[in-house]
């Protein structure tokens, strides 16, 4: 129904909450528990602060590098909140908010961007794959996870994220085709943030929408206002229903914007106009979500100030812990290559230790 109504070829994007926080599509407002809404909002505030701070830390030379997701919070939180606890989350790399919502700690996230593999060792029960740098390849992992869920007869659904640029990659195509062929319980959210590093989505991709790529796979696709947490929630809720019923994957294009640089090594001034950024600033998901919650009497400005303070503290503390971690142990760079150290690796490790013994640390 929803996917027919918002067939991407009809050219209408799903929006429920407009940029000012007003409901524009009353009959579509999804039923979301207060508790869930508040978790979404609190994560959004924490995520935003953590994001802004990470860039600052990096500028101070204290954080290695970072890929900001400022502006894309609703695309992530609206979608992840519609998933079950038992579902799988498959990341690209710009999904801090989705990660936090799903149980990855801020400390772990920071540790990763600090340059330590330990930052990808999420807690045992956290069903999240590590950040995936090779563009597009995560979609195939998601398909495999979903295949296993289906074969085992569990209720798990897998949600995976990818960027607009990533949809041109062969890996995306193969994963989508594979998932479609077996009607796998999988949802793919394209975070169309308009840019792939310096390359505008409009130039790199000919199709009018990214959602319509779904048609090529014979599955539903929908274009959603990615800065609207309610619209994102609804689309994913419906996609999850399909998945649960064995009807296969859904492709969701979240139209959003990357407010910051691609990563802290990138200078967007080289390739885009401030004007464009300013336009998108007005569509900030945080503004409209807060207004919506206040209108609903779930929230107040006063509470918000407290939350801001608490979140700031949390961020600073997480980073403090990360900064205490220092360097990785020598053994650790060997230990996880195979389950057991091979004789060859033992030799290499020992030879190097001998060198350190004789010559002192590097």
């Amino acid at each position: 129904m929803l996917f027919e109504e918002f067939d991407p070829l009809k050219g209408e994007m799903l929006q429920i909450l407009d940029k000012n926080g007003n409901i524009v599509n009353d009959k579509l407002v999804p039923k979301i528990k207060k508790e869930t809404l508040m978790k979404m909002y609190k994560t959004m505030v924490l995520g935003r602060i953590a994001d802004v701070k990470a860039v600052q830390f990096q500028r101070q030379g204290r954080m290695l590098t970072y890929a900001p997701n400022h502006g894309q919070e609703a695309a992530q939180l609206g979608s992840i909140a519609a998933m079950d606890d038992d579902d799988w989350l498959v990341l690209a790399f710009r999904e801090l908010n989705a990660m936090l919502y799903k149980g990855v700690t801020l400390e772990q996230s920071y540790l990763y961007w600090y340059g330590n593999e330990m930052g990808s060792k999420y807690d045992e029960n956290v069903k999240v794959l590590p950040i995936n740098v090779p563009i597009g390849s995560q979609i195939n992992h998601a398909a495999g996870i979903a295949y296993a869920s289906k074969l085992k007869g569990t209720k798990e659904v897998t949600i995976a994220y990818i960027g607009d640029g990533g949809t041109s990659h062969g890996e995306f195509h193969e994963g989508m085709s594979f998932a479609a062929a077996y009607d796998l319980p999988m949802i793919v959210v394209i975070q169309n943030n308009q840019w792939a590093i310096s390359t505008p989505r409009k130039k790199a991709i000919k199709s009018k929408t990214l959602a319509q790529k779904a048609i090529g796979y014979g599955i539903p696709g929908i274009q959603v206002d990615g800065n609207d947490p309610l619209a994102m929630y609804l689309a994913v809720e419906k996609a999850r229903e399909r998945a649960s019923k064995g009807e296969g994957p859904t492709l969701i294009e979240a139209v959003t914007y990357r407010m910051g640089p691609h990563t802290t090594s990138d200078n967007p001034k080289l390739y885009r106009e401030d004007k464009e950024v300013d336009e998108w600033a007005k569509k900030d998901p945080l503004i409209r979500f807060k207004k919506y919650l206040i209108d609903k009497k779930y929230w107040s400005n006063k509470k918000d100030e407290e939350l801001q303070e608490a979140s700031k503290k949390e961020v600073l503390e997480a980073f403090k812990k990360v900064e205490k971690t220092g360097l990785v142990d020598l053994e650790d760079i060997f230990k996880y290559t195979y389950e057991k150290l091979t004789p060859n690796l033992k030799k290499q490790l020992n030879a190097y230790k001998e060198y350190l013994n004789e010559e002192g640390a590097k």
């Binding site: 593999e117 060792k121 195939n140 398909a143 074969l151 062969g170 890996e171 193969e174």
Partner: protein, 325 residues
């Protein structure tokens, strides 16, 4: 015991592994209904159903990449890439992910998965159907690369590979899929990954080979009765059993390495380097390699120039024995 070809031995290993362990799944292009273009997986779909044995779209990145996802989510996938020459579109998944998930997640996610691929020449095939690409897999930390040369090892190594907690690349010497039979145990058994096999002990020279070339070496040695060669079947290319190699060289002082892979930057180079590192002062002659030329393996009307035969092995061996330090 039952008399089996390598192909049948692999089929039995898959069958018994699936029987014992519900989490084993087998898939790839034409693997399901037809049982594979070589029929290695014949009968499995009928027995275990379409969920556990299935055909895929033509998409090697999806085959390998989905296996990674399945392994994360509790399955033990054994996937087939139709020919090693067609493994390359899936190579990104193997190198950037399969080899690294354990390390990336600091042990949270390990990947018990097997990537099977028929490999090697001498079957009069089209382009891309004859490659020996050991180097590409052996060079990557985190992968194991296994190649059987007998039905006994084929079954035992395959069962070990499926039970291995790390990703295993399993190259199958298609030239000898059906070339000969061997009496092998009917019950399940494993052959340890990482251990070479001494095919024949000897004192004059060490010959190292694997896959289809082990037999060619054996044939050659029937022609050269005046040289007492120690023949080693490497079986696992990575991680390599350096110890068995080095011990042999310490005894013989001479070594000939035979493989069909391209010579330069090929597997023999690594073996020679390990011998240099650990047994250099035992060497009585320069280590020798007899390998594929550094040219694209030719189509069938030129392939005889490329394929290594027993006569050539015998020739190189005699030259090696004549060399003196």
């Amino acid at each position: 015991m039952a008399v089996k070809t390598i192909l049948q031995a692999i089929n039995e290993a898959l069958d018994q592994s699936m029987e014992k362990d519900d989490s084993v799944v087998v898939y790839g292009e034409d693997v399901g209904f037809e049982g594979g273009v070589f029929r290695t997986t014949a009968g499995l779909q009928k027995k275990y159903g379409e969920g556990r044995v299935f055909d895929t779209p033509i998409a090697e990145a999806a085959i390998v990449g989905s296996a990674i996802g399945m392994a994360v989510n509790g399955l033990k996938p054994v996937v087939e890439l139709q020919f090693s020459g067609f493994s390359l579109p899936g190579y990104n998944q193997v190198v950037t992910h399969a080899a690294r998930f354990r390390n990336r997640s600091r042990g949270k996610y390990n990947l018990p998965m097997v990537v099977r691929m028929p490999y090697g020449g001498g079957v009069r095939a089209l382009e891309h159907h004859s490659e020996s690409l050991e180097t590409l897999y052996a060079h990557i930390p985190g992968l194991k690369l296994v190649i059987p040369s007998t039905p006994y090892d084929a079954k035992g190594l395959m069962m070990a590979a499926i039970n291995d907690p790390d990703p295993v690349i399993f190259m199958e010497p298609k030239r000898i899929y059906r070339a000969f039979k061997q009496d092998i145990p009917e019950e399940p058994y494993e052959v340890e990954i990482g251990k070479a096999r001494i095919v024949k002990e000897g004192k004059d020279v060490t010959i190292i080979a694997w896959g289809a070339l082990v037999r060619e070496v054996e044939k050659a040695m029937k022609q050269v009765t005046d040289i007492d060669a120690e023949i080693i079947d490497l079986r696992t290319i990575a991680p390599m059993d350096t110890e068995t190699i080095v011990n042999s060289i310490k005894k013989t002082g001479r070594v000939l390495i035979v493989h069909e892979a391209y010579k330069s930057f090929g597997p023999a180079a690594e073996i020679i380097s390990r011998i240099n590192e650990e047994a250099f002062y035992y060497l009585e002659a320069a280590p020798k390699r007899l390998t594929g030329f550094d040219v694209t393996i030719p189509l069938p009307k030129g392939e005889h120039h490329f394929i290594i035969d027993p006569k050539q092995i015998a020739y190189e061996l005699k030259k090696l024995m004549a060399e003196k330090a």
